[in-house]
C-alpha cells in the first residue's frame, strides 16, 4: 500500500512541480522587479536573478506616498464585497431553481443568461457608459457595483446549478417528509450544505471583479475613485516611462493575500464535495 502511495506521490511532485514553477515564475519576477534598485534594474550586465547592491523599498514608498494606491485598494475591496453580496443574492436562488425545479424552460433560461458573456465589453462599454451617465453614476464606484453582477451572476448561477445537482435528492425528500415546506427546505437544509459552493462563487466573483479592466477604466476618471487595475495602469505609466517597480509592488499586494484566501477556501470547498453532510 505505501509503495503505491510513494509512486503516486512522486508522480504528483513530477506533475505539479513544473506547473507550479511556470505559473508562479512571473510572481517571483514581480518580487525582483519590485525591490530592485533602479541602477540594478536597468543594468543589462547584472545578473537579474538576484539583488545586486541589495533590495530597496523605494518603490513601496513611491506607491504609498505618491499615488492613491490605498484608495484603490479600498475601492476594489468595497466593490468586491458588495458585488459578491449581490451575486449571491441573485445566483443562489436562481441556481437552485435551475437545478431542481424548472425542467425544460429552465434549461433554455440557463443558456440564455449565459449569452450575456458573448458580447465583448469592448463594445458594450459605450452604451453602458451612456446608461451610467443618465443615472448620474459616472465617476462613482457604484457604477461598477451596478454593472459587475451582469457578468458574475451568469457564471455563478451555472456553478451553483452544477453544485446543487450534486446534493442528493434524498436529503430534501427527507426534510419534506418531516413536514418542511419547499422554502423551508431551501433555507434550513440546502443552504448550510451548499456553503462550499457558495464559497466557490465568492472566490470566482471576487476574482472577476478584481480582474475587470474596461468598465473600471471607462466609468471612472478621477484618480481617487479608481480600482487597483486601472489606477496602477493609468497613473503609474508616465508617457513612455512605466514605473516598473511601483507597478509590481502594486500587483503583489492584492495577489498574495487573495491567493492565500483562495487556497484556504479551496480546502473547504473540496472537503464540502467529498465530505458531505450525510457522512
Amino acid at each position: 500500500m505505501s509503495h503505491v502511495t510513494l509512486r503516486e506521490k512522486t508522480l504528483s511532485y513530477l506533475i505539479v512541480g513544473p506547473f507550479a514553477i511556470v505559473l508562479a515564475f512571473p510572481f517571483y519576477w514581480m518580487v525582483m522587479m519590485a525591490f530592485k534598485k533602479d541602477a540594478d534594474f536597468y543594468n543589462v550586465q547584472n545578473v537579474p536573478f538576484k539583488f545586486n547592491g541589495g533590495p530597496t523599498f523605494a518603490n513601496v514608498r513611491l506607491l504609498f506616498h505618491h499615488t492613491k494606491y490605498v484608495n484603490w485598494l479600498i475601492n476594489t475591496g468595497e466593490i468586491g464585497v458588495v458585488v459578491v453580496g449581490i451575486t449571491l443574492a441573485l445566483a443562489v436562488p436562481a441556481g437552485y431553481a435551475l437545478a431542481r425545479l424548472s425542467g425544460r424552460m429552465g434549461q433554455s433560461l440557463g443558456v440564455g443568461i449565459f449569452l450575456t458573456y458573448l458580447v465583448p465589453p469592448t463594445l458594450l462599454f459605450l452604451p453602458f457608459f451612456a446608461l451610467i451617465s443618465r443615472l448620474h453614476l459616472q465617476n462613482s464606484i457604484w457604477s461598477l457595483v451596478l454593472v459587475y453582477p451582469s457578468f458574475t451572476v451568469p457564471f455563478s448561477t451555472w456553478l451553483l446549478m452544477g453544485f446543487f445537482k450534486t446534493v442528493p435528492q434524498e436529503l430534501e425528500d427527507a426534510a419534506r417528509i418531516d413536514g418542511a415546506s419547499r422554502l423551508g427546505t431551501l433555507i434550513r437544509v440546502i443552504f448550510p450544505i451548499s456553503i462550499p459552493g457558495i464559497l466557490t462563487v465568492v472566490i470566482f466573483s471576487f476574482s472577476l471583479v478584481v480582474n475587470e479592466f474596461v468598465y473600471a477604466f471607462v466609468f471612472i476618471s478621477s484618480s481617487a475613485h479608481r480600482t487597483v487595475s486601472t489606477g496602477v495602469y493609468t497613473d503609474l505609466i508616465r508617457g513612455d516611462l512605466p514605473e516598473w517597480g511601483a507597478i509590481m509592488v502594486a500587483a503583489l499586494i492584492p495577489s498574495i493575500p487573495l491567493a492565500l484566501l483562495y487556497n484556504a477556501f479551496l480546502n473547504r470547498f473540496i472537503a464540502g464535495f467529498t465530505g458531505g453532510a450525510f457522512r
Partner: protein
C-alpha cells in the same frame, strides 16, 4: 419552525402554499437574476446591435442606417479575416493546453502530500493577480532589451547577444507568447473546476471501481473521465469564452502587432482599433458582433452536450 409550518399550513393554505408549486417557486427564485441581467445588459446590447447597422463615428450613438454595409465591408477585409483566424487559433490552442494541464493538475492535487498547500498556492497566483498588472510583468519578461529569458539564453550561449529571440516582435513567437499567456491565466481557474469535479465523484463509485479491478488508466478512461465530462465541458466553455472575448492580453502585450502581419490581432482588439481609436464606431460594432453567433452556437452545443453526458 418545521412544526410551526405544519401547524400553520391549514390556516396559511391560501398564499404561502403557492411556494409549494415547483413552477412558481422556480420563477420567483430565477426572476431576480433574469430581470436584473435583462434590464442591465439588454438595452446596451440592443444599442450595440443598432450601432453596427449605422455609420456612426467617434463615439456618437447616432448614425445613418446603412444596413449590412459594415458587415459586408469587414467580411472582405483581409485584416478582419486574419483577426478571425487568430482568435480561433489562440482560443483553441490555449484552451486545449488548459484542458490537458488542468486535468493533470487536478488529478495530482486531489490526494494530500507534503507541500501540497504551498504548491497549490503557487498555482493559484495567476488567477489571484489583477490581469492588467500581471501582464505588465509579462511585458517586462518578454521585453526587447531586458527580457530575463533572453538574458538567460544569452548567458548560456544559446543565442546571439545582439539578436536574441524577440518574444513579442517576431510574428510566430508573438503568437506563441500570447497563446501561452492566455493559457497561463486560465489554468488555475480550470484546475479548480476540475478539482471540484473529481471531488464530487461519490466515494461509492470509487470503491466500486476498485472492486471491479479498474485502476490507473482504465479507471480514468471508464470511470473518471465520463463522470467529469459535464464539468470539464463547462470549464472549457468558460475558458473559450473568456479567451475569445478578451482584449487586455493582446492589447497590453503586443497591441495586435508585430507588423506587417499583425499576427496577434484578435477580433476584439481589431474592433477596438477601428471602432474607438480610429473613430469608425459602426464598423467596430459590426466586428465585435461577429463573435456573438459563433460563440452562441458553440455555447449551446457544448451545454447540450454537457447535459446529455451527465450521469445522475
Amino acid at each position: 419552525m418545521a412544526e410551526a409550518v405544519v401547524e400553520a399550513r391549514p390556516r396559511g393554505r391560501r398564499w404561502i402554499d403557492i411556494f409549494e408549486r415547483p413552477g412558481f417557486l422556480a420563477s420567483v427564485l430565477i426572476s431576480p437574476a433574469v430581470v436584473f441581467i435583462t434590464a442591465l445588459v439588454g438595452a446596451p446590447l440592443a444599442l450595440a446591435v443598432y450601432l453596427s447597422f449605422t455609420n456612426s463615428t467617434a463615439g456618437s450613438l447616432h448614425g445613418k442606417f446603412v444596413g449590412l454595409h459594415n458587415f459586408r465591408h469587414e467580411w472582405h477585409e483581409a485584416a478582419f479575416q486574419h483577426a478571425v483566424w487568430h482568435t480561433f487559433l489562440f482560443t483553441v490552442i490555449s484552451q486545449a493546453a488548459v484542458l490537458i494541464g488542468a486535468g493533470l493538475l487536478a488529478h495530482a492535487l486531489i490526494r494530500p502530500f507534503r507541500g501540497r498547500w504551498i504548491l497549490r498556492f503557487l498555482i493559484l497566483l495567476p488567477w489571484a493577480a489583477p490581469i492588467a498588472l500581471s501582464l505588465m510583468a509579462w511585458t517586462w519578461i518578454f521585453d526587447t532589451t531586458y527580457s530575463v529569458i533572453n538574458w538567460t539564453l544569452i548567458h548560456l550561449h544559446l543565442v546571439d547577444p545582439i539578436s536574441p529571440p524577440q518574444w513579442l516582435a517576431q510574428p510566430h513567437l508573438a503568437m506563441g507568447s500570447v497563446i501561452f499567456v492566455h493559457a497561463w491565466r486560465i489554468l488555475p481557474f480550470a484546475t479548480v473546476i476540475f478539482l471540484a469535479g473529481i471531488a464530487s465523484i461519490p466515494k461509492e463509485v470509487d470503491d466500486a471501481a476498485a472492486i471491479d479491478g479498474a485502476t490507473g488508466l482504465r479507471k480514468f478512461w471508464y470511470v473518471t473521465l465520463p463522470l467529469q465530462l459535464p464539468i470539464a465541458t463547462v470549464a472549457l466553455l468558460f475558458g473559450i469564452v473568456f479567451t475569445a472575448t478578451d482584449m487586455v492580453v493582446v492589447y497590453i502585450l503586443t497591441n495586435g502587432g508585430p507588423p506587417p502581419s499583425n499576427s496577434t490581432e484578435q477580433i476584439t482588439t481589431w474592433a477596438y482599433k477601428i471602432g474607438i481609436e480610429s473613430g469608425s464606431l459602426g464598423e467596430g460594432a459590426a466586428i465585435s458582433l461577429f463573435l456573438l453567433p459563433v460563440l452562441a452556437t458553440m455555447a449551446v452545443l457544448m451545454l447540450l452536450f454537457a447535459r446529455r453526458v451527465e450521469v445522475s
